[in-house]
Symmetry: C2
Subunit: 193 residues, 2 copies
């Protein structure tokens, strides 16, 4: 691959992420091209459909969120790392204005995203969770996938209620995790998908 092509792809993903965060995923392709300093043709060369660009941005954001878990785990105590990553995850979800609708639009470009989401984020959270449990800082009876789903729901519900509401609810959840730390009850709460 030519160097300028790779450079443009990187610039585009960065620019598109910023534009999607402020204007939502319905932002015009022209606007992204303009802000990135490229022609629309360049976008369509690398992302044949508008939805391909959205999916690529999302995958990159999912990766970044998953990678953040490693960094936080290295820099903080297990419980603190877990708490910080939860807020990081809320930031990730919070900027996804209008994405839920796009996901359900039936566009095949989004077909593999839910699986990718789980594939990347579930192990990341599970690792944080297990460390915190091993350190006796949080209780052992909550599954990573349930936590991911619960927080996503909270963020969606809290969407109209302001930006802080979600963080407060999630903080509450994390406090709940800490409440019965080391209670060693081998009861795994599995529920939603």
């Amino acid at each position: 691959m030519r160097a300028d092509a790779q450079r443009n792809i990187d610039t585009l993903l960065q620019t598109a992420m910023a534009v999607f965060a402020t204007s939502g995923v319905d932002a015009p392709v022209r606007e992204i091209a303009e802000k990135a300093g490229v022609g629309v043709g360049t976008i369509y060369r690398h992302f044949p459909q508008r939805s391909d660009l959205i999916a690529a941005v999302l995958r990159r954001e999912i990766d970044a969120c998953a990678d953040a878990a490693l960094v936080l785990a290295a820099e903080h105590e297990p419980g603190e790392a877990l708490a910080r990553w939860m807020l990081r995850y809320v930031d990730f979800i919070a900027t996804k204005r209008g994405l839920a609708k796009a996901l359900h639009s039936g566009d095949p470009a989004f077909d593999t995203l839910p699986a990718y989401f789980r594939q990347r984020l579930e192990p990341a959270l599970r690792a944080l969770l297990e460390s915190a449990v091993a350190a006796g800082e949080v209780r052992a009876d909550v599954a990573a996938e349930d936590l991911l789903g619960a927080v996503a729901s909270l963020c969606m519900q809290a969407y109209e209620k302001g930006p802080d509401h979600a963080k407060r609810m999630v903080a509450l959840l994390v406090d709940g995790l800490r409440y019965r730390a080391s209670s060693a009850a081998p009861f795994s709460s599995r529920s939603a998908d």
Copy 2:
């Protein structure tokens, strides 16, 4: 108001309802104008925005569904009237492909619709329900608003599962209503909004 204007509005609402039912609410305005035998200008004279037409069609359908309750109550025994109206309500919900997304789009034309929905349908169902309860044909411990919500959820959930699934689930619900008729337990199950 001029007679032709009123005639066109009626024709438009009818045509739009049919088009929305088959092509979804995203059907082009031109298509509706063509099928109604009017120019697009005529549509925009009466419905300044595309969403205004959608909202008007919906209000009309809500009215028709509510009015059907009176007719059914006059023509059938209370229990039968209730059962038939429930299926009528399913028909109403079932043709609303893609409407949930439109409702949540933030378009101000839809702002008053949820309230209108409840205002018209809740009393209609409540009347049927109370008659059936008074006649000893169904149990007394289910609230009209819960029933409306439950059926709407069933229809949305059953959406991908085929057209009959919703009706079977709702029929099951109605049978459940009949199961403990006259059990006179003064327990009002209120839950979702």
